[in-house]
C-alpha cells in the first residue's frame, strides 16, 4: 500500500492504494465517484473514459499510482456536481434532447470524450468518425448520439 496525491475534479485527495489498484477502481471505490462506469476492463468498451490532463483515456488501463501528480476529470465535473436540468452542459442537454442514451451505461465515457473534442475544437464529423469509434453503445444504434454531437459541434 502507498499513499498518493491525486487531483480529481479540482479537489486534491490523499488516498491509500495498492500498487495494483486500477485508476477506475480508485475513482469508484475510494472516491465514491460512481459516475465513471466499468464494463470490459480491457480498454475496448470506453465506458470508463475519463480526462487525464484534459485528454480522454481509459481509466481501467491505468494504475491508480500512475495518476499521481496528474489531473483527473470525471463525468461528475461536467454539471458542477449538480444534477438539475439547469446545470447540464450543452452536450449533456443535447444527449437528452436527441435521445442519445437509453440505459445510460456508456454515456459517462462518451460525455468525457466528446467534451474533450469540444474543447479541442474538433468538428462534428471528425468527432463522430474518430472519437465516437472508441465507445461501444448497445442500445441506441448511435443515431441519437450522432445527432447530439451535431447539435453541439460545428
Amino acid at each position: 500500500m502507498r499513499t498518493i496525491k491525486i487531483v480529481v475534479n479540482g479537489t486534491a485527495h490523499d488516498v491509500e492504494v495498492e500498487d495494483r489498484t486500477l485508476l477506475s477502481d480508485l475513482i469508484r471505490h475510494d472516491l465514491r465517484l460512481t459516475g465513471t462506469h466499468v464494463s470490459c476492463e480491457q480498454g475496448v468498451c470506453g465506458s470508463c473514459t475519463i480526462l487525464l490532463d484534459g485528454r480522454p483515456v481509459r481509466s481501467c488501463l491505468m494504475l491508480a499510482v500512475q495518476a499521481e501528480g496528474h489531473e483527473v476529470e470525471t463525468v461528475e465535473s461536467l454539471s458542477g456536481g449538480e444534477a438539475t436540468p439547469e446545470s447540464l452542459t450543452s452536450l449533456q442537454r443535447a444527449m437528452s434532447d436527441q435521445h442519445g442514451l437509453q440505459c445510460g451505461f456508456c454515456t459517462p465515457g462518451i460525455l468525457m470524450s466528446v467534451t474533450a473534442a469540444q474543447r479541442d475544437g474538433l468538428d462534428a464529423e471528425e468527432t463522430i468518425a474518430e472519437v465516437l469509434g472508441g465507445h461501444v453503445c448497445r442500445c441506441t444504434g448511435y443515431r441519437g448520439i450522432r445527432a447530439a454531437i451535431r447539435q453541439v459541434l460545428p
Binding site: 480498454g43 499510482v65 472508441g134
Partner: protein, 285 residues
C-alpha cells in the same frame, strides 16, 4: 478482472530502469502506455512479479529529426506523433499509419516503443519499421546495441529484446527518396487490421521503379518484409495496370498466413493482393 499483485517501481532515470531490469529480468514487465500490458494483466494472461513503469523517465519521449534519421524516444505517445509537424514532413507514412491504430482515447496513452516491442503480428507500426528499414536501440547495464527491424521480430509477441534490456528509441531512415504509402483492412474502424501493407517506391530513370520496399502484417506469425515483391517491382513501370496486377498477384508467394478469428489464411492472402494493388495504384499516381 484485476491484476494479480506485483511490486511497482517508477524510477526517474534510464539507468535506474536498467538496474531494475538487470535485477529482476524475466520477472519484470516494462509498463509504458499500458494499452496492451494492462489488459493482459487485468485478464491475468500476464502476471509479472515486478512492474517497471517508464512514464516518469524524463526525456525518453524526444523526437529528433536529423538529416538521415528520425530518432523517436520509446515513450513518445502516438497521439503526439500523429500531430507532430516535423514528422509529417519527413516521414508522413508514420502519422498516417498511427491514425489506423485503435482510437484517439487509446493513442493518448500508447507509446511507439511499446507498440513496437509488443510485436503483435497484426499491428501496423512494426510493419512500418520493417518497410522503412528502421532499427531499435536496446540498452542494458551490459551496454547498448542497435537491432535492425529485420532481426527484431521473431514470432507472435516475441522479439530479440533480452529480458534485461529496455527499448529506448526507434530510428527510421529518411531522405533516401522512397515514397511510402500504407493501407489496411480491419473488421471495424480502429480495430486491429486483418492485413496491413506498407509500400515504399523510389522512381528512377524513365519513370521506372529504381527501388521498392514493402512489409505486411497479418500474413505470418510476425510482421514480414515482402522481399519477392520488392525484387519483382524493381525496374517495373507502375503506370501500366497489367504490371501492377501482376505484382499484386505474386505479392503473397511463399506466405502461409495463419487462420484465426479475424480471418482465414486464404482471405488474408486475397486482402494482401488487393492492398498491394491499391498501393501500387497510389504509387503510380
Amino acid at each position: 478482472m484485476k491484476p494479480a499483485p506485483f511490486t511497482y517501481h517508477d524510477p526517474p532515470t534510464v539507468s535506474e530502469v536498467l538496474g531494475l531490469l538487470s535485477e529482476h529480468g524475466g520477472e519484470a514487465a516494462v509498463l509504458a502506455g499500458g494499452q496492451s500490458l494492462i489488459p493482459l494483466m487485468n485478464l491475468r494472461l500476464a502476471r509479472p512479479g515486478v512492474v517497471v513503469d517508464v512514464n516518469r523517465v524524463a526525456g525518453l519521449d524526444h523526437v529528433e529529426i536529423g538529416r538521415h534519421v528520425v530518432r523517436i524516444g520509446a515513450t513518445a505517445r502516438l497521439a503526439d506523433l500523429e500531430r507532430h509537424e516535423g514528422l509529417a514532413e519527413v516521414l508522413p507514412v508514420l502519422p498516417a499509419a498511427i491514425r489506423h491504430v485503435a482510437h484517439p482515447q487509446i493513442r493518448n496513452r500508447t507509446t511507439l516503443g511499446g507498440s513496437i516491442s509488443h510485436a503483435d503480428p497484426s499491428a501496423e507500426l512494426p510493419a512500418v519499421l520493417l518497410a522503412t528499414g528502421g532499427r531499435v536501440r536496446l540498452e542494458s547495464v551490459r551496454g547498448s546495441r542497435r537491432v535492425p527491424a529485420d532481426d527484431f521480430f521473431l514470432s507472435p509477441f516475441r522479439t530479440s529484446r533480452r529480458p534485461d534490456e529496455l527499448l529506448t528509441s526507434v530510428e527510421f531512415p529518411i531522405g533516401g527518396g522512397l515514397r511510402f504509402l500504407m493501407d489496411e483492412v480491419a473488421r471495424r474502424e480502429g480495430g486491429l487490421p486483418v492485413v496491413s501493407v506498407v509500400l515504399g517506391v523510389r522512381t528512377g530513370a524513365g519513370g521506372l521503379v529504381a527501388e521498392a520496399r514493402a512489409a505486411a502484417s497479418g500474413v505470418a506469425d510476425r510482421p514480414v518484409r515482402l522481399r519477392r515483391l520488392e525484387r519483382h517491382l524493381t525496374g517495373a513501370d507502375l503506370g501500366d495496370p497489367v504490371v501492377r496486377r501482376a505484382a499484386a498477384d505474386m505479392a503473397g508467394h511463399g506466405l502461409e498466413p495463419p487462420d484465426d478469428l479475424r480471418g482465414g489464411g486464404a482471405y488474408r492472402k486475397s486482402l494482401l493482393r488487393a492492398l498491394v494493388e491499391r498501393l501500387l495504384e497510389g504509387a503510380a499516381a
